[in-house]
């Protein structure tokens, strides 16, 4: 078998992509945790992890090692096999969902024609891991956490579904890659056509991944750690990995559906072509900062490490700069869509995750019944109205020949009006409920 035949083999690229995802994902998840802790520290006027490696850059690796070496405890009364299986289900489901996410025009494991449906379906399987884990632990906290999780996921999956269908109407396809291509053709990201849909998906996706302010299932101050209470060591790490992978998955869906996936901002406008140099410039800045910090590190090892990080960033900057600068038609220029696509995709996913973190450190936690009310009485109706609105806008545009802007502006305004009305109704109910409780309390 000569080299050419291997290169021609249709499963080669998917295989490399799959390997990359399975090998790199735990690392990525670990570093998302580090970024989260740093962002949290910044918002809370402190430094965050600083001890392991310069600026705590090796913290995720130390944490992973610690979790691997920790004693693995299975409670005596737990159902051993299910207890063992549950975290695996969660992780597998979360990772499988990544298989149809287009990280770039090339970096895509499988371009299924039912891609989005696959992600939603497989992603939802993760709930089995949570429910089974909570049940198998044989603990009240775990059970309550698992039940909350199941109820929450079912409730918010519907709202998220409504938002997704809205975007699908615009795209006219389920294939994730085709959805992105469609946004390139239309010259507009779907977030501008369906802002309300994006908002609904944002809220629903936070709830779906059990993140604050909707982190009921693992509400630390109430249920200790929810369904994970009895887990420790590596099994616990698997749940953690699943949680962060799920975050990446929902962020990827949002990026693909609403934020133009791997497309550069203003992808179709030659006027903005200078943006092609932005990725390289950003990475160069990071590299420069790393080198600037090198002499300020206390120990030789840390100096070296910082320099290596700087070199890595510089190398990546070069990798991104060369294809952008190379003459069209050359081999290097051919690599540009893939490399730059991956950069923009990761940048968008990162921005989405940053919003997750920001909300987490700002808001108190919802109570379970409030969460349900929000899901069923606000988010779901708004999602449905949004879906109808998009349908009407498309009908106005394609059927009656209205312009794109007036038809979408009209329906968006109507959708926002309905959402405002729902908020008003909800507030009135809340006031009445408090009034009743007061009289009950005084009786």
């Amino acid at each position: 078998m000569d080299l050419n035949a291997i290169l021609q083999w249709p499963h080669l690229v998917p295989l490399i992509c799959a390997l990359a995802i399975v090998l790199v994902l735990p690392l990525v998840a670990g570093y998302i945790v580090l970024v989260e802790r740093k962002v949290m520290a910044d918002m809370q006027v402190r430094l965050g992890p600083m001890r392991v490696g310069p600026h705590g850059l090796l913290q995720p690796i130390a944490d992973a090692l610690k979790l691997l070496l920790k004693e693995d405890i299975i409670p005596e009364n737990a159902d051993r096999y299910i207890f063992w299986l549950a975290p695996l289900i969660s992780v597998t489901a979360a990772m499988l969902a990544l298989s149809t996410v287009p990280i770039g025009p090339v970096f895509l494991i499988a371009d299924l024609n039912i891609g989005l449906l696959f992600i939603l379906g497989v992603g939802a399987l993760g709930i089995f891991g949570i429910v089974l884990g909570g049940w198998a632990s044989n603990s009240h906290y775990s059970l309550l956490g698992a039940l909350r999780s199941a109820a929450q996921l079912v409730s918010y999956e519907t709202s998220a579904g409504m938002a997704v269908v809205g975007a699908l109407l615009l795209a006219g396809t389920l294939s994730t890659k085709a959805i992105v291509e469609r946004q390139a053709q239309d010259g507009v990201w779907f977030i501008f056509a369906a802002p309300v849909g994006f908002f609904v998906y944002l809220v629903a996706s936070i709830a779906e991944t059990n993140r604050a302010p909707f982190d009921m299932p693992e509400a630390e101050s109430e249920l200790v750690a929810g369904y994970m209470t009895e887990y420790s060591g590596f099994r616990w790490a698997l749940y953690f990995l699943a949680e962060y992978t799920n975050m990446i998955v929902v962020a990827s869906i949002a990026t693909t559906l609403f934020l133009g996936g791997y497309l550069r901002p203003f992808a179709g406008t030659p006027l903005f072509d200078f943006l092609d140099y932005l990725p390289a410039l950003l990475l160069l800045l990071v590299a420069g900062y790393c080198f600037y910090r090198v002499p300020k590190q206390p120990v030789g090892v840390q100096k070296g490490f910082m320099a290596v990080v700087g070199l890595l960033c510089g190398g990546m900057a070069l990798l991104l700069a060369l294809p952008a600068a190379a003459p069209a038609g050359s081999l290097l220029a051919g690599a540009k869509p893939g490399l730059h696509g991956a950069f923009w995709f990761v940048a968008k996913v990162g921005a989405y995750l940053y919003v997750f973190m920001w909300l987490r450190f700002t808001f108190p936690r919802y109570r379970f019944d409030q969460l349900m009310r929000l899901g069923w009485q606000f988010l779901l109706p708004v999602g449905m109205v949004n879906l109808a609105g998009i349908a009407v806008a498309l009908a106005l545009h394609r059927g009656l020949g209205w312009g794109v802007v007036p038809s979408f502006a009209l329906t968006t305004a109507l959708t926002v009006a309905v959402a405002a009305y729902l908020v008003w109704i909800g507030e009135k109910q809340e006031v009445r409920k408090i009034g009743e409780e007061e009289t009950a309390g005084n009786a």
Binding site: M40, M43, Q44, V45, R46, H140, Y141, L144, A212, P213, D215, M216, A219, E220, S221, E222, L223, V224, R360, F361, T362, F363, P364, R365, Y366, R367, F368, D369, Q370, E430, K433, I434, E437, E438, G441, N442
Partner: protein
């Protein structure tokens, strides 16, 4: 698992689901130490609760019988360690009453300043942990940042940060340090802006209001019947504050108001404490303007030997009425010291407040009572 109300007002359980007993604590992230609460749950609804206390019992009252009057003073700091200064003030004043001496005016004003700073520190700590219980992670760090400033003032004053042992029977041991007034003033000037910052994060936050309004309602009648005191009582609409009712230290010299609530719910208790912090700040600002000159220690002997008799003295600690009942048999050691800890008495209202609420509210209600287990168990 639902309950249904049949005509006649009797509640029956349909579907025949069992109630479960959930054990919260003594090791639990939000029971503020080692409180253990056994909850009877119907689904997630609380049908009943029982507090199990004593995990931090150190026999403070018994220790008092084997120490002389000065030696016991540091022990009281270990009860409500979040506001150790208040404990010391109550004890010193109680012994002074027993001895029939009074602290000199200068000592009394400085005591007032330090105690009010302690109240702010205690309320800050309460706010941070309460918000954390309800899921807001960030206010805790802002609150601790301000509390740190107060602890620094304590450290400069007497060398200790937490269990300060700042006062002595008869007055103060230490003179205020040179920059004392300036430090307090700087803190107070800055603090006003900071409280507004916390309020911006929480007061009008829809989630915060949703989580606290109408939760754990305690009527004024019930509060008085159960002996609840402090901000919890005032949030129920009772204007009772020992600083005004039975003035001690130097409180009769300063202008301040007593904030009260209306509904007696968690949100009102939050508002009352926020306003109390502002009032404490005002007291401090007034006090540093007129610290009298003069001695700081009254005429008490080296050996304290009160005449036989008994005394009850109570002060308005940050958490409520902190009372000391001391019986003297004429020797250098107290015959009996009985302490009325506000946290313990306030905790008794817990069962009534949590009934009918959800598990998540239990955490909010434990937080809003502002208990310190060191004080509950003693």
């Amino acid at each position: 698992m639902g309950t249904t109300r049949i005509p006649g007002g009797v509640e029956t359980t349909v579907l025949g689901a069992d109630e479960i007993i959930l054990n919260m604590g003594p090791q639990h992230p939000s029971t503020h130490g080692v409180l253990r609460v056994k909850l009877r749950l119907d689904g997630e609804k609380v049908a009943g609760s029982e507090c199990v206390i004593g995990y931090l019992h150190r026999g403070v009252e018994k220790i008092a019988e084997h120490r002389n009057y000065q030696q016991f003073a540091p022990y009281v700091d270990r009860m409500d360690y979040i506001a150790a200064v208040s404990n010391g003030l109550g004890y010193c004043e109680a012994v002074e009453k027993l001895l029939g001496v009074e602290a000199p005016p200068r000592a009394r004003v400085i005591r007032t300043i330090l105690t009010e700073l302690g109240r702010i520190a205690s309320h800050l700590f309460w706010l941070g942990t309460h918000a954390l219980d309800i899921g807001a992670l960030t206010p805790l760090f802002y609150c601790l940042r301000e509390r740190e400033e107060i602890l620094k003032i304590y450290e400069n004053y007497c060398g200790a940060r937490l269990t300060t042992h700042a006062f002595r029977v008869g007055g103060l041991q230490y003179e205020a340090y040179d920059e004392f007034e300036k430090d307090v003033e700087r803190f107070c000037k800055e603090f006003d802006r900071r409280v507004n910052e916390y309020e911006a994060l929480l007061t009008e936050n829809r989630i915060w209001v949703g989580r606290t309004k109408g939760i754990g309602i305690l009527s004024a009648h019930d509060a008085i019947a159960m002996g609840v005191t402090g901000p919890v009582l005032r949030a129920s609409g009772v204007q009772w504050d020992l600083r005004k009712a039975i003035p001690y230290a130097a409180y009769d010299q300063f202008e301040f108001s007593i904030p009260t609530g209306k509904n007696g719910d968690t949100y009102d208790r939050y508002l009352v404490r926020m306003e109390e912090m502002r009032q404490s700040r005002n007291i401090c600002l007034q006090a540093i303007e007129k610290i009298p000159t003069g001695p700081i220690l009254g005429k008490v002997g080296k050996v304290l030997k009160p005449p036989p008799g008994e005394v009850y003295h109570s002060i308005e600690a940050p958490k409520g009425e902190l009372g000391y009942y001391i019986v003297s048999d004429g020797t250098t050691q107290p015959y009996r010291v009985r302490i009325r800890p506000p946290s313990l008495i306030n905790l008794e209202a817990l069962d009534q407040m949590v009934r009918g609420h959800l598990v998540a509210d239990v955490v909010a209600i434990i937080g809003t009572l502002d208990i310190v287990l060191g004080e509950v168990d003693r």
